[in-house]
């Protein structure tokens, strides 16, 4: 690989679009085929470390999804509260649910992140499919429990 092409790509890849880099290199007289090979090689080189990111990142990502679930659940509980005399019950129930949701969400996230390191395929399938299903079941269970405790919506 031509070091002039490689160095230019390396210096500008993160800021500029590949098409713009290619156009600049062609304008400077470089061979288009050599540029394409260099761009592809650089992209492959970059893709590998990106796929092997530390597990910690996934933990926080799944944790973020849990946080969205919590917000939805708080809104749901608020809407269930159509009878003002049940506010203390709902507050206690909501606080318990919030804590349980955080702990459970964190444990799931940790488990998923560990799975992702030895087997990325299982980890990704787990993160994309399993996490929403588990969270849905938790939300459904919480909803059913709130109906039992506080009456129908």
């Amino acid at each position: 690989m031509d070091p002039k092409i490689r160095d230019y790509i390396q210096a500008n890849h993160d800021r500029y679009a590949p098409e713009a880099i290619r156009a600049q290199l062609i304008a400077a007289g470089h061979d288009p085929a050599a540029i394409d090979v260099a761009l592809a090689a650089f992209a492959s080189e970059r893709a590998t470390p990106a796929d092997q990111r530390p597990a910690r990142a996934y933990v926080w990502f799944v944790f973020w999804i849990v946080a969205v679930g919590i917000l939805g659940l708080i809104a749901l509980l608020y809407s269930v509260n159509r009878n003002p005399d049940k506010v203390p019950d709902i507050a206690i129930f909501g606080a318990g649910l919030f804590g349980g949701y955080l702990v459970l969400g964190y444990l799931i996230a940790r488990w998923l992140s560990r799975r992702m390191v030895p087997s990325r395929a299982i980890g990704w399938v787990g993160a994309i499919l399993l996490a929403p299903i588990v969270f849905f079941l938790i939300a459904y269970g919480a909803c059913a429990a709130s109906v039992v405790l506080f009456g129908p919506v």
């Binding site: 031509d2 002039k4 092409i5 230019y8 210096a11 500008n12 993160d14 800021r15 500029y16 679009a17 590949p18 098409e19 713009a20 880099i21 600049q24 290199l25 400077a28 007289g29 470089h30 061979d31 592809a40 992209a43 492959s44 970059r46 893709a47 990106a50 796929d51 990111r53 530390p54 990142a57 996934y58 926080w60 990502f61 973020w64 999804i65 969205v68 809104a75 749901l76 608020y78 809407s79 269930v80 159509r82 992702m116 990325r120 980890g123 990704w124 993160a127 994309i128 919506v153």
Partner: protein, 266 residues
Amino acid sequence: MLPVLARFGPLTIGTHDFFTILGLLAGFTLYYRALRRDRLLGGPIALISVAAILGGALGARLITSWEVLDDVQTAGLPLTYVLTHGPKSIIGGLAGGYLAIVLSKRALGYKLSTGDYYAAAIPLALAIGRVGCFLSELPLGTPTGLPWGMTVSPEAAASFPRCPGCGGPMHPSMLYEIGFHLGAFALITARGPLLPVRGDTLRAYLLAYGVFRFGIEFIRGNEVQWLGLTGPQLVLIPLVAWLVIHFVRQLSSGVYRMPKPIPAAA
């Protein structure tokens, strides 16, 4: 006009829903193809896409929810009614999806800008989605005497909560939007990134759409909320301002003047 696309026994396929899903699928296909071409398709991107869908769905429902909050409270409905039956906004979908992508990238430590890969996908998805809006007989626009003004059936007009122009020909504002998105899609597909900096082609498209949509709102027939402006226009003001500030900063920093490579013959 075709509010219902097909019926299979008890299953009814609504035209609006069908074209919304078709638009999303077409957009994501284009997005993934572009990512695969540049060898960027991987696990983090899949997770970021999930976040984009989630953020887009929430944003679409929430950004103009304040318009109906009073009605929901007056009717004694739960607040979740806003999420399930509230107004939907493409602007909210775009803003929510964008914000979700930024947050999920930060959470994942993913630094490379992938905005340009959405730049052709979003206008295509919106053009297809708007076909569903048009066919399902949503209120079209304000009254017009122009030759291409369109009317809706009396049955459809009766079903709208409000449609000030339904008595005669109206601006087909959905068709104007379809034209804008198809034009943007054709331009970006033909020319590739319009700006050299990663992500700025998407931002330029969003800015152009924001300005266009702001203008279209004057003939859309949406309810005026404040200072003669509709809900989407009020939401667009800070979003467009943010994009204008971004481009002013980019231009003043000289980032669009790319560094020159060492010539091949040197």
